[in-house]
């Protein structure tokens, strides 16, 4: 059974003034596949994700998703098409509870106008009730049921990362972009995060683009890996292939890992 290409990135380049952050990156993600992008800091990994999610328009190149070129599309439109993401530096909303935070991902689907809030039309109540239930489903799924009504920013870092994932899932995406989901977590938390991602992946019809620094996360989860350095792709392959690639080892993994 052949899996279709769900996100196709061709010759993506991003220049910031004179600085070339991403240099001619090409890659793709298949349906039901987890791919990884690794590389040292500043290699352009997050920039690739930012282009796919619409935060920066590429300077050149194209991103094909569901038959459309995402270049130049606004982030919210890209989200409506089915791409959601988390951030390397957690971006939560001040003072909002976990539940409200996850609920905001459903806001765009609201069928009512501002005027209807005045007369408290039944549509308003019905919709709010529905998205509350759906949001709770995701909150339960990431294991934060007990904290649904806590202020998101007051929770520990590991939980905040899971809130971001719940919020991304609430977009009900087909493609999930995870930018360093394990950053700042201790060993146990990382293992829990890996398990969570694995479980979500097997339960839901998802493709995932994952950026991470930790080898155990990448090797464990990814089916295919792209290696970036200074904006250029210097290697790609299965985890085993990438681990053995001398160019990659030299640039990034270092002598020790090849002996691991």
């Amino acid at each position: 059974m052949d899996r279709a290409v769900i996100v196709d990135m061709n010759n993506l380049t991003k220049m910031f003034g004179g600085l070339c952050a991403v240099n001619n990156f090409s890659g793709h993600v298949l349906e039901d596949q987890i791919i990884g992008i690794i590389g040292p800091n500043g290699a352009g990994k997050t920039t690739i994700l930012n282009m796919v999610s619409g935060i920066y328009p590429p300077t050149s190149g194209e991103i094909i998703f569901k038959g459309k070129n995402l270049c130049g599309m606004e982030p919210h439109k890209i989200n409506h098409m089915g791409i959601a993401r988390t951030f390397q530096n957690i971006r939560l909303f001040e003072d909002m509870t976990v539940l409200d935070t996850v609920m905001t991902a459903y806001s765009w689907r609201a069928p009512y106008h501002p005027i209807e809030t005045l007369i408290s039309s039944p549509r308003v109540g019905r919709f709010d009730k529905e998205i509350k239930e759906k949001s709770m489903h995701w909150i339960n799924r990431v294991g934060l049921t007990a904290h649904a009504n806590s202020v998101a920013k007051s929770l520990p870092y590991g939980m905040q990362r899971r809130i971001e994932i719940a919020r991304a899932l609430a977009s009900e995406p087909v493609v999930l972009l995870l930018d360093e989901p394990g950053a700042g977590l201790n060993q146990t938390e990382v293992q829990d995060m890996v398990k969570l991602i694995q479980d979500l992946f097997s339960e839901l019809h998802l493709s995932i683009m994952l950026i991470d620094h930790r080898m155990e996360v990448i090797m464990c989860l990814c089916e295919w890996i792209y290696v970036q350095d200074f904006g250029k792709k210097i290697g790609q392959g299965t985890p085993e292939q990438v681990q053995k690639d001398p160019v990659v080892i030299k640039a990034y993994l270092g002598e020790d890992i090849s002996n691991a």
């Binding site: 909303f93 001040e94 609201a110």
Partner: protein, 288 residues
């Protein structure tokens, strides 16, 4: 009309404009220094419609609101994508442009001398009911997804965008709504004070509303309404001149922001839950 009733009417009408600023600046963090221009628009358009064209009061107000909202759409398109400080600057410029036009178009508006002999058509009933409706609207707005989206956009616009919120459309909606509030308040006031002039609608008025919102607490609707009543009533009681009154507002808000940035009322809201619970059958209460 007794003095107290006159003052209360003014406060009620003014508070409607403040509620507009609550939505725009408090909830959404959009710093507009030209809000008062919409109030002026509402005042002048409705006054001109009634005095010069003899239209009925309600129709004149409706026209005024529509004009204000239309202009808000244009201005919003021009300014809402700009970064915050420049948005403040652009709206300041907008306010100057509008008051400039009001002063220039002497034949239509009476220019700097103002527009007078406006009939007294605003009654206390109209004003108080309007305020009540405005409060209910903002309260409902805030409780709905619009409220959550506002806080999301205010806190972290980028995160709001990637989770599907059309930030520009949301900001435009809020901008137009608050313009409508300001315009309506302007119309009510015009037919109460019976005289309007461009100087009443400058940036100082806009900033005063922002001060009132932050005084009460930008996260508290009750706080803003109460703060509005307190700040607008006190000078009447104490008989301040305009400059002293404005100066006191400034000092108050500087104190509040330094010592209690959340505002006098913080995030406290008047909750109707205890009252509602009184009327609920005992069974429901136990289940809760």
């Amino acid at each position: 009309m007794s003095f107290i009733l006159t003052v209360a009417l003014s406060i009620a009408a003014y508070s409607i404009a403040v509620l507009g600023t609550f939505m725009l600046t408090g909830m959404n963090g959009l710093f507009s220094l030209g809000q008062a221009a919409f109030m002026g628009l509402g005042a002048y358009v409705s006054a001109i419609m009634v005095v010069n064209y003899h239209l009925p009061f309600a129709v004149a107000i409706l026209i005024a609101i529509v004009v204000a909202m239309g202009l808000a759409v244009l201005v919003g398109f021009a300014t809402l994508r700009i970064r915050q400080d420049f948005f403040a600057l652009a709206t300041f410029g907008f306010g100057q442009a509008v008051t400039g036009l009001m002063t220039e178009m002497v034949n239509v508006t009476g220019g700097a001398m103002g527009f007078s002999n406006i009939p007294r058509l605003t009654t206390p009933t109209i004003a108080f009911i309007s305020l009540a409706v405005a409060i209910v609207f903002v309260w409902g707005f805030r409780r709905s997804h619009f409220g959550k989206d506002s806080l999301a956009i205010r806190s972290n616009e980028l995160a709001a965008k990637v989770e599907g919120i059309d930030v520009f459309k949301h900001k435009l909606t809020v901008f137009v709504l608050s313009a409508a509030f300001a315009a309506y308040a302007g119309a009510l006031m015009a037919f109460h004070t019976r005289y309007v002039e461009p100087a009443m609608y400058g940036w100082i008025a806009s900033v005063t509303w922002i001060i009132i919102v932050f005084f009460g607490g930008r996260d508290s609707l009750t706080g803003t309404v109460l703060g509005s009543i307190i700040l607008l009533a006190a000078p009447e009681a104490l008989r301040f001149t305009t400059a002293w009154r404005t100066l006191v507002y400034c000092v108050l808000i500087l104190v509040i922001i330094n010592l209690r940035p959340r505002g006098l009322f913080g995030t406290w809201e008047l909750s109707l839950k205890p009252v509602i619970n009184l009327f609920r059958p005992k069974k429901h209460q136990e289940v809760q």
